[in-house]
Symmetry: C2
Amino acid sequence: MTEIEKTLENKGVRPTAMRILIYKYLAEKEVAIALTDMENAFSKADRTTLYRTLKTFEEKRIVHQIDDGTNISKYALCEPGCNCEMEQDLHLHFHCDNCDETVCLTEHKIPHINLPDGYVAENANLVIKGICDKCSGQ
Amino acid sequence: MTEIEKTLENKGVRPTAMRILIYKYLAEKEVAIALTDMENAFSKADRTTLYRTLKTFEEKRIVHQIDDGTNISKYALCEPGCNCEMEQDLHLHFHCDNCDETVCLTEHKIPHINLPDGYVAENANLVIKGICDKCSGQ
DNA sequence: CAATAATTGCACTTCCGTTGCATGAAACAA
DNA sequence: TTGTTTCATGCAACGGAAGTGCAATTATTG
Ligand SMILES: [Mn+2]
Ligand SMILES: [Mn+2]
Ligand SMILES: [Zn+2]
Ligand SMILES: [Zn+2]
């Protein structure tokens, strides 16, 4: 039983062949992945299967969904031991307007914001847009 | 010539009857407005006209588009003298998970974030999700 | 007035996300 | 092992929202 299989089982997901492939794919990419990206990468698999796999992974906290402002949902593996719901785990995301890629900046947490009276914060999403390190030529 | 007509002309938009109505509608709401909201409010007008009016308003800096994570574009009037592009004008937005309304918190600017080397920030979007003042009963 | 330009309305398309239902594979209980 | 149940996958379709081409209407200009 491989590492990935163990990880999936620990998270309560049956490690099917398809799911292991999808997990591997997400692991080797260091950018956030859209459903369409996966369709292209796994032309043999059905779009729905990929979709539902991502949803399952999300439910089981294997991936987190990223809204980068493009109106296309992206996904990335959670950090080991991350708890996506907790405020202290909310890192920011960077979307490059040049290469259109989105990355997790897991070291950069979203700063705490003081809200007006009556507002109760439960979640936060911070996306910075600009030019990424690869595209800025550094 | 009314205040609204003057405002529109100053921004380089011809003040048609339709546009004045739409401007008024946006002005009297203190929440961000989706295209569908406008369709309901102006059942007589065509969806495309409302759509293109919002796009025109956006281009001319009369409204700014808001991405609140619902994947439905919303719009709100810009503050007088605001320059939506400038970083210092980037305020945060609050989306209530209870009433599903999104508001501009124009007083709350997005804090400056230090990015890793090579990353160039050009824009930022910060959305806080939770319970708004009306829904939290304060 | 006629000529021109801008606005509006209608029809249609595309894209992404989502769901219902049938089939196939794996786990389980006898 | 066999039958039963549960879960995963595939196929087909739907829905909402954004966006476009073009014709009709309205406003502006000379
Ligand atoms: Mn992330
Ligand atoms: Mn705003
Ligand atoms: Zn880039
Ligand atoms: Zn509310």
